[in-house]
Amino acid sequence: MTDFLLELRCEEIPARMQLKASDDLARLFTEELAKAGLKPAAIDSFVTPRRLALIARGLPLETAAVSEEHKGPRTSAPAQALDGFLRKTGLTQDQLEDRDGVWFGVVSKPGRATADVLAQAVPLVVRAFPWPKSMRWGAASQTTESLRWVRPLQGIVAILGEQLVDIEIEGVRSGYATLGHRFHHPGEITIGSAQDYVEKLRACHVIVSASERQAIIAERAAQAAAAHGYTVIEDKGLVAENAGLTEWPVPLLGDFDPAFLEVPPEVIQLTLRINQKYFVLRDGEGKLAPAFICTANIEAKDGGAAIIAGNRKVLAARLSDARFFWEQDKKTRLEDHARKLERITFHEKLGTVADKVERVAKLARWLVEEGIVKPSPTVAPALTVTPALTVTPATPVTPAKAGVAGGSAPTPEMPAVAGMTKEELTDLAEQAARLCKADLVTEMVGEFPELQGIMGGYYARAEGLPDAVADAIRDHYKPVGQGDDVPTAPVTVAVSLADKLDTLCGFFLINEAPTGSRDPFALRRAALSILSLLNRSDLRLPLNKALGQSEGTHFLTALMGDIDWHSKYGLEVEDDRNFRVEYEKRGRILYYGDKVIDVTPGPPVSALYNGVDWDEPDAASLLDFFADRLKVQQREAGVRHDLIDAVFALGGEDDLVRLLARVHALQSFVATDDGANLLAGYKRAANILKKDAPATATSVTPAKAGVAGGDAPPLAMPASAGMTYEKEPAEAALIVALDAAEPRAAQAVADERFEEAMAALATLRAPIDAFFETVTVNDADPAKRAARLALLARVRDAVHNVADFSKIAG
């Protein structure tokens, strides 16, 4: 057994590609060897900016000889079949054995020298290497067929034991020689075997292990910071990136003029991290420190003084730019910045960002006016009776946020302005919405797009806007993905919801709903964010109505740009608050004030938004989309999606908070003994009814139980009508139980007391069990049979008050 060393040396490999390349090399190499029956005991992988290497341990010097028996055609088969078999196996007919009329032949492959296998395998691995981007180079690139590699391949070391494995790939020939550190050890060094590879290179200022370089960077950076009383803000990605830019990492600490700290900390952090790949530091109080750590690739002759001086200078120039942007941007009020949004296209079919802002402002206002977003989310409704507070928006209650160093700012738990009135909230929400995208045209966000929202928040505060508005501008993109803070401040919630509803509704209108893995406008994320916002603050949002409202604003944007249509209907679209869409039985109705302008199907204009056809309005598909998102979100919270289906299947539910409450109650219920048995009884009843479908067709009308508004469903059968025969005791008991449970469950659902509804259902469990135990449904007497089937239908319908149990698994 022996070890094999492979090093593929090239010009600097992009840092972001190195770790995957290292894994790919080990994988492809192992696969190639496996084809020859070789399996290394272990593979050690190494990667630096200039080399990709591995050591395969425990390889035999030869592969084992292999004999394989192949089954051929029948001896009676035509000659062509036998010829084909001989060609395939390389055998001759006299080597075959006739076993019960079938030809068998044994193909023996002798063992091969491992060195030969390797010499064959390595070029295959190199040529098939899956670099994300590769290139041609040098004289060989006279043709496009020449070797492609991430950057020019310069050398190959391939040593089995102590023997060179002779490999040549496009003029690069394997040898014992490699290069050390580019500057510390530019000459060739000779590798003897896998055993001395790591240490010989270390002696030449190359640490071949990526994880070791990472550990060195993390440790020395921490030490350097500690020496100045600072701590490093942890950043594993940055550690890995710097380890991918160095063969001999040397973290060095430098400082910058504390005067730059007047620029928002997020800006400084991004400048250091993104532009310069520096580590960011915190001082003893947790604030951003006026210092940085860069990672050099040399042990400099002067101890790093020149490197630090150079980096300080570069950073100072960058921070000066940042400060210039900060000061420049502040000279213009956000509302003036916002005017320039007319120049930015949001989507060619959905108008400009200014159009979007207009819609979001209307929607945010509507959300408050409708009482969906309320002034004090953290106070339970019963407690809002407290005397009206006289806090004016001008006296902010939340302390100004201290310079946050590190990650996104946490969302304040407290509403920024406690005790504001609904009218105040309405105006603040609209104001914040009108300004929320203004920072997109600032210099700073042009430079650092990641700071959208955050900068708007700073600029709003700097010009003295209310904190609630500044917070809303800052946080209205939140939550971005799972795990992000979910805003609760009412102004923020209104703007954030409006922004996302507008996006979703708009893209559905222009038929850009996500399909499969394609979701270019991140609509799934937008829907999830809406769900999180609703859940977090327990908001009651009738989605149909909200989507209708949002659609109305979209129509309006289009309308504004389409004078003909507008005049055709004799509309004065100057003040447009009255514009809305409602979903009614006859379809989607577009209102202007009380005037019906249009009834679905289809919008009256096909030439909206620069002649682009709108898709058929499809609120149902948007609701389904929300349902799917809800399942995804709730699955992670441990809620069974079949239970969500069971509630959704009833139809008519578009209030997701209420829906979830019902699902939660249902989940608790089916986990109980009563619940499980009731489910079993329900399924039994449903099965019998299904078999007997024609006979009971009249009572199968689905009960739209307890939908919004809480109308009790019409009972499928009168309580005990048509029962002229002598009822058996269990039958009679079930009727009594149903008479009691049905109204109780329906009322509880209407009152949104879902535990109570479940408790009502639970009372049915014993009578149902007893019924099935002692009563024969399929009685010879057709009257009895019909009555009992009707009774079962009643059971099913009673259960449907709460959920469609047929959707529940188990």
Binding site: E11, E12, P14, A15, R16, P49, K133, S134, M135, R136, W137, G138, A139, A140, S141, Q142, T143, T144, V150, R151, P152, Q154, R182, F183, H184, L245, T246, Q276, Y278, C294, A296, N297, I298, A300, K301, D302, A306, I307, A309, G310, N311, K313, V314, L315, A317, D321, R343, I344, T345
Partner: protein, 294 residues
Amino acid sequence: MLSFQDLILTLHAYWGKQGCVILQPLDMEVGAGTFHPATTLRALGPNAWNAAYVQPSRRPTDGRYGENPNRLQHYYQYQVIMKPSPANLQELYLGSLVEIGIDPLVHDIRFVEDDWESPTLGAWGLGWEVWCDGMEVTQFTYFQQMGGYDCKPVAGELTYGLERLAMYIQGVDSVYDLKFNDAGVTYGDVFHENERQMSKWNFEVADTEKLFRWFKDCKAEYDQCIANDVPLAAFEQAIKASHTFNLLQARGVISVQERASYMGQVRDMAKGSCEAWIASNADDWSEKFPGWTA
């Protein structure tokens, strides 16, 4: 310490020794040294080509009226192109840094991934930006395509930002404080007024009606050049159109929608010139390099 002009002379001497033809700048307004036909057109075709030159580069929108110490609407690039890319191009490049006084055991030199793409030229390549103590001093690119054609063979291109490099070597914070020579003339003495006036012209004065007309004229003249089989002349019209477009941008008179259309026209002219250049040379090239095809 090297003056600005000595920096250029040192690089000329160094790259001349490596076999490069030392050219003079293209006598037209361009946004970058890559536009010089010595790079764009010579990157195409099979024959070897090694050249180095300084190229004044104009980026009207970068003008700051001479008030920003780091930004100029007119600055210099030092451009090296070597085709095919030599195996030791990185070493040659590092040798040039040593030559101008940057000791790689004192200063931290790094090759940081930075792929290059010029939609206007239908060109792209892979390479790095070279960092010296955290500052980008050179763009290092292996051209893979030019004018939409595969580079066969691949050329290596180096673009040094001369002012930046000089500021670093001389340790000054403002470009205008650079020593231009050793006789007391500064970069500011030579160019400060130029920046003020040209920024004003670019942003405020330039007659946009004329500019639009010039652009149209360039396009018409380009068509004529192509029709008459003079691809080098056609390419010059593409260059003029490109700069005129940049001026229109600086004047802020091109809307977002129009922008794409103008860029498309420039790209078509640049690609068309490359195509015509290849066509006019194809016979010669395949005769000298049997088997070579575009």
